[in-house]
């Protein structure tokens, strides 16, 4: 099992399954239930294409391929729910969304299904895998703060780069602004979105457009100026967004 630091806390994407798919074929030491090595972290959901279907007396086993590997997915048949047997089984080549739990049997990993749903909108596949990436990055790098966003855009060590020092400065501005008061955010958004010359917008214009007292706009301006995300232009009361 690959050792990712967040294994235990992690539960909603293909990720757990990636490891299973890649390493389930006998790399695990002994037969153990998934919950032993990662308590609480075995419930997963993922999207995959059916590679094969085999119907057995007690369960239906699908081999699902999500592009990263194959994993067996077992859906146990509920003997009481006979009416369900008339339902059409998913066929090979179709895509499924699976919710389930990672289990191990004879050194081989599989997913015990809770819910299976065929995918009808194929954008869900892209969506799911992008979500999985986002979650992975969230756990390995922490929430997307200004520094993270910058590291994305410009390279590593973003923490100590001057926030106005590069192309990514804009996004870090945005993250600074998200921590400010609502009115400061509104003013920033307006300055950013309004078509303007180099001169920017005057306080009175901002107040008028946002329908707020000029006094509040001044306060918001102080906040934004203090963080250096806007600057004064023709006079102290005309501001523009500081961006390259």
């Amino acid at each position: 099992m690959a050792n990712y630091g967040y294994q235990g806390a992690y539960s909603t994407t293909t990720y757990g399954n990636q490891n299973a798919a890649a390493e389930g074929g006998g790399f695990m030491n002994g037969s153990q239930s998934g919950s032993q090595d990662s308590p609480g972290g075995t419930k997963i959901t993922f999207v995959g294409q059916i590679n094969s279907v085999s119907s057995q007396a007690t369960n239906t086993t699908y081999k699902l391929d999500d592009g990263t590997g194959l994993i067996e997915v077992k859906q146990w048949i509920d003997a009481d729910a006979i009416a369900d047997s008339t339902n059409q089984l998913p066929k090979e080549g179709e895509y499924l969304r699976v919710w389930g739990r990672i289990k191990a049997f004879n050194n081989k990993r599989h997913i015990a299904v809770h819910v299976l749903r065929p995918i009808t909108n194929f954008n869900e596949i892209s969506c799911h895998l992008l979500e999985a990436t986002a979650v992975h990055l969230y756990f390995t790098r922490g929430p997307p703060t200004g520094a993270e966003v910058k590291a994305e855009g410009g390279g590593d060590g973003g923490m100590f780069v001057d926030s106005n020092g590069g192309a990514a400065g804009g996004s870090s501005n945005a993250s600074k602004v998200t921590r400010m008061s609502p009115i400061a955010r509104k003013v920033y958004e307006l300055l950013k979105s309004s078509t303007q010359s180099n001169e920017g917008l005057h306080v009175n214009v901002i107040a008028q457009q946002l329908h707020v007292p000029a006094n509040d706009v001044y306060k918001a301006g102080d906040e934004l100026l203090g963080e250096g995300v806007i600057f004064t232009t023709v006079d102290d009361e005309t501001w523009a967004v500081l961006e390259y």
């Binding site: 909108n121 596949i125 892209s126 969506c127 999985a132």
Partner: protein, 109 residues
């Protein structure tokens, strides 16, 4: 994990790096000509179809296939992803980018 049948998601510009490998490619079908189809995936890809491939022009398609020496793709499996306008190619292309940028969670090599 050599026996893991992973199928990396790629686009036309990456074909060169994936010769003789099984890949997964999403694109729009632009032309059908008997045994071959032309697929647009940030560039033109020639797909050599198998018997049970049912492609339609103007549809999005996902192909699992093997990249040949001449950079055509021999189709092993094809899945129709519906009409072109209903499929978000930008998302699919972003996904290809993400899977290679953060390959640690997608591919073992």
């Amino acid at each position: 994990m050599a026996d893991t049948p992973s199928t990396p998601r790629i686009l036309a510009p990456h074909l060169d790096a994936f010769q003789n490998r099984t890949i997964r490619l999403i694109g729009r079908v632009t032309q059908l000509r008997g045994e071959t189809a032309t697929i647009d995936a940030q560039g033109t890809v020639t797909a050599i179809l198998n018997r049970d491939a049912h492609l339609s022009v103007g549809h999005a398609v996902e192909i699992v296939g093997k990249v040949q020496g001449d950079l055509s793709v021999r189709v092993l499996q094809s899945t129709d992803f519906g009409a072109e306008r209903e499929f978000d190619f930008a998302a699919a292309e972003a996904l290809v980018d993400a899977t290679h940028r953060y390959k640690e969670i997608f591919y073992s090599d």
